[in-house]
């Protein structure tokens, strides 16, 4: 069996007395597109935030390409990772946020060159070339000199995608990336993600409320309920013939609303 790109090994996350994720096991293969759906509070966003190391985990281990992310090996034993180890493994991961989180004091281009220049130590010229190509890929070649406040929500989110890609991650995390957008702007962002899926050998995990998109784009859909994967399978299995009552309930509610 080939090594999974991301592996959750009995990962538990608690906030005080509340268990947000309960002994989660999840393998994501290289190049696989996984959609994560579920009601709010089911722990789905926490899954992404833990891979991005924005949240500490309370138990278990997360691996990226077989290498522990949350831990490191010392004398043959796994011990909690130090900052240096985390930074080294984290380099393989990129994330796009619900609220874009662009740097407001930098142009679209500077947003995309900051990390390549300071972290990867690329020369300005090289970083700007790479950023320019990516901005063109997301359809914003003419907006490179614009500040985030001068861009629409959809444009900002596309810059955010280009910014994450500029670091050449192997895993991309999308956290409800269209939830903060006006409905007419959702399509342009989803189109960019489609293109990314077709052109790049990227592993993608996305938390989404766009069931139609999940159905069409994902290789696998995971339905989260109360900190566990209640059901998972191919989109046709999960959307076509859900086995779990909770899944059926959730899908019915979402379809009625949408």
């Amino acid at each position: 069996m080939t090594m999974p790109m991301v592996r959750f090994d009995k990962v538990t996350k608690r906030y005080g007395p509340l268990t947000v994720l309960d002994q989660l096991d999840l393998d994501v293969a290289r190049g696989e597109k996984v959609a994560i759906i579920g009601p709010s509070g089911s722990g789905k966003t926490t899954v992404l935030r833990m891979i991005m190391t924005l949240e500490r985990i309370d138990d278990g281990v997360i691996y990226v390409e077989g290498e522990p992310l949350t831990h490191m090996t010392r004398n043959g034993r796994l011990v909690p990772a130090d900052a240096r180890h985390i930074r080294q493994v984290r380099a393989k991961i990129g994330m796009v946020f619900q609220h874009f989180n662009l740097f407001p004091h930098m142009t679209a281009l500077a947003n995309c060159t900051e990390a390549p220049m300071t972290v990867l130590r690329l020369k300005r010229k090289e970083a700007e070339e790479r950023a320019g190509d990516l901005l063109a890929m997301v359809g914003l070649a003419d907006k490179r000199g614009h500040y985030p406040s001068q861009l629409s929500g959809g444009q900002q989110q596309r810059v955010a995608i280009a910014r994450a890609l500029a670091m050449r991650p192997k895993v991309m995390l999308f956290d409800e990336v269209t939830s903060a957008l006006d409905p007419e702007l959702v399509g342009e962002v989803l189109n960019v993600i489609r293109k990314l899926g077709a052109e790049h050998d990227l592993t993608m995990l996305m938390v989404t409320h766009q069931m139609g998109f999940a159905k069409e784009f994902a290789d696998r859909v995971c339905f989260f309920y109360q900190g566990r994967i209640a059901e998972q399978g191919s989109p046709s299995e999960l959307f076509g013939a859900p086995k779990n009552d909770r899944t059926r309930q959730f899908l019915r509610a979402v379809l009625e609303a949408g």
Partner: protein, 223 residues
């Protein structure tokens, strides 16, 4: 017998050059003191923010400095430090006290500025794998500083108006010079009034300058 006039212009003309020289000392003390305060404040705020273990000790230090009078701190540095082998000349001790005292106040302003930067900015920095120094220098401070310039400016004016306290350890700034002039001639009206007017004029000018900077920064951020 000559009648005592309330305001003697020839005396004013005589002491103005002397006071002008002292004004230079006052301005020097203000600028160096504030530069110290700005740097000390920033360092304290960042330590408190970035190093959890130091958060409590730094908070206690800031509270201690803010809760004791500046005059006592000046005396402490000038008269008590030599007991421990640290001998500072009056100007250095005074400026250092100003810097420490206002640094404590400034650190609270910086802290408010740092806390006002949305969480998402820190998270984006982590997601891009930026180092801690880069995150502060390129992402956080450029967003945290512009909104607090007016508050820092107010402390600059406040510090400036407290420089007469340095006369207590005989720094030859404006106040001390005016006192000496007064005691030599028994005419206090003119020197003290002139010193007051100088502070008034400088404070108004500084306040106007701060407003200009504030407007400029607002325009830049609103871009």
């Amino acid at each position: 017998m000559e009648t005592e006039t309330l305001w003697d212009w020839s005396y004013v003309a005589e002491i103005l050059p002397i006071l002008a020289g002292a004004a230079v000392v006052t301005i020097e003390a203000t600028l160096i003191g504030f530069a110290l305060a700005a740097v000390i404040g920033l360092v304290l705020a960042i330590l408190r923010f970035a190093v959890p273990a130091l958060s409590w000790p730094v908070a206690a230090l800031v509270e201690f400095i803010r809760s004791t009078p500046l005059l006592i701190q000046i005396f402490f540095l000038f008269f008590v430090f030599p007991e421990f082998g640290i001998v500072l000349d009056a100007f250095t001790a005074g400026v250092l006290a100003l810097g420490l005292h206002y640094g404590a106040y400034c650190s609270e302003v910086y802290r408010a500025g740092l806390e006002a930067v949305p969480r998402g900015q820190w998270e984006a920095a982590i997601a891009l794998n930026l180092g801690q120094t880069t995150t502060f220098r390129d992402i956080i401070l450029p967003q945290a500083l512009p909104p607090i310039v007016p508050a820092l400016g107010n402390y600059l004016v406040a510090l400036f108006k407290e420089t007469p306290l340095l006369s207590a350890i005989a720094v030859l700034e404006l106040m001390q010079t005016a006192k000496i002039l007064g005691s030599e001639t028994f005419r206090y009206n003119e020197p003290i009034t002139l010193v007051g007017l100088f502070f008034l004029a400088m404070s108004l000018v500084s306040a106007a300058a701060i407003r200009l900077v504030e407007r400029y920064l607002k325009r830049r951020v609103a871009r």
